[in-house]
Amino acid sequence: MALTALICDDSLLARNQMKKSLPAAFDAEIVTATNGLEALTVLRGQEIGVVFLDLTMPELDGVGVLEAIKAERMDVFVIVVSADIQPEMQKRVMDLGALAFIQKPVNTDKLSAVMRQYGLI
């Protein structure tokens, strides 16, 4: 059974960049959310295998989403895709349980390497 992946970013361009950067071998249905609150609604409503999560977003940011995922013990892989590349932020999201941190604009090779590492492709 193919898994469902959630792309969460407030920018349409960034969501499209993300979709296009996904490796061809990744067999998944893609759903999207435009802020953290929408992402949590999706996560609570259906089985999501992996989330590609932006950090700087209106309503609820990516850190807030990670905190909720941790608090509610949701079983989901989170790959953070963000422009906020400060070392302290990278450490913070990894401490909150993110699998990996990918710098924007997303690089296909880096993304593939991370996804291969965690058996997503």
Binding site: L12, L13, A14, K20, A83, I85, Q86, M89, K104, P105
Partner: protein, 204 residues
């Protein structure tokens, strides 16, 4: 008449490029100051340059504020002028963060240095994503601590057609300050920018 307005797709695209540029600028600033910069979504607005003075009247009129201009020149006719605005009471705090000794440096020197650090890190990040590179004119103080602020802004904005307003809040671990950056862009550079954004959009 040539249309200088942006479509919603172009605006979204520019917003995302600005977010990434802000990320790079904040990272540099954080390393430079050895602190953490809390990044927020910068509000951007595209307006007719003639409307700019009115938009900032309420925020800065009557206050001691600093207005510093920095011209930038890129490849293919992409050029313009950035204006960094902030209240002068912030300048001392920023200077302390940057490690300035109050007596040794003139106020003018300090203001132009702050502007340079905040503006060029951001613009370099933006240029990189546009596959361009910018060179810069020497920063110029248009106004500081005087009440003739609006008329000076009017004189500057008068030369340009389009203004891209970027409202930025730099929030550091133990201190925050607001500043506004205005990118003033001539008509032909707006067309160039729109074409670049369309190319970026066509890729995805």
């Amino acid at each position: 008449m040539t249309d200088l307005s942006f479509t919603e797709e172009q605006r979204d695209c520019l917003q995302e490029l600005i977010n990434v540029a802000m990320g790079l600028a904040s990272d540099k600033l954080a390393r430079f100051l050895n602190t953490f910069v809390h990044l927020q979504v910068p509000a951007i607005g595209l307006v007719n340059a003639a409307e700019i003075p009115e938009q900032f009247r309420g925020q800065y009129q009557g206050l001691n504020s600093s207005m510093i201009s920095l011209g930038f020149f890129g490849d293919g006719g992409l050029r313009g002028e950035t204006i960094l605005l902030y209240q002068l009471e912030n300048a001392g705090k920023i200077a302390a963060l940057l490690g300035y000794d109050d007596d040794a440096t003139s106020e003018a020197e300090m203001l132009t240095d702050i502007s340079s650090i905040l503006t060029t890190t951001f613009l370099n990040g933006l240029a990189e994503q546009l596959d361009n590179s910018f060179s810069y004119a020497a920063p110029r103080i248009i106004s500081s601590r005087d009440n003739d602020f609006i008329s000076k802004l009017e004189q500057t904005a008068f030369h340009w057609q389009l203004a891209l307003k970027v409202d930025i809040r730099y929030e550091l671990t133990d201190y925050s300050f607001d500043c506004n950056m205005i990118l003033l862009i001539p008509g032909e550079a707006v067309l160039k920018l729109k074409a670049i954004l369309d190319n970026v959009l066509a890729e995805f």
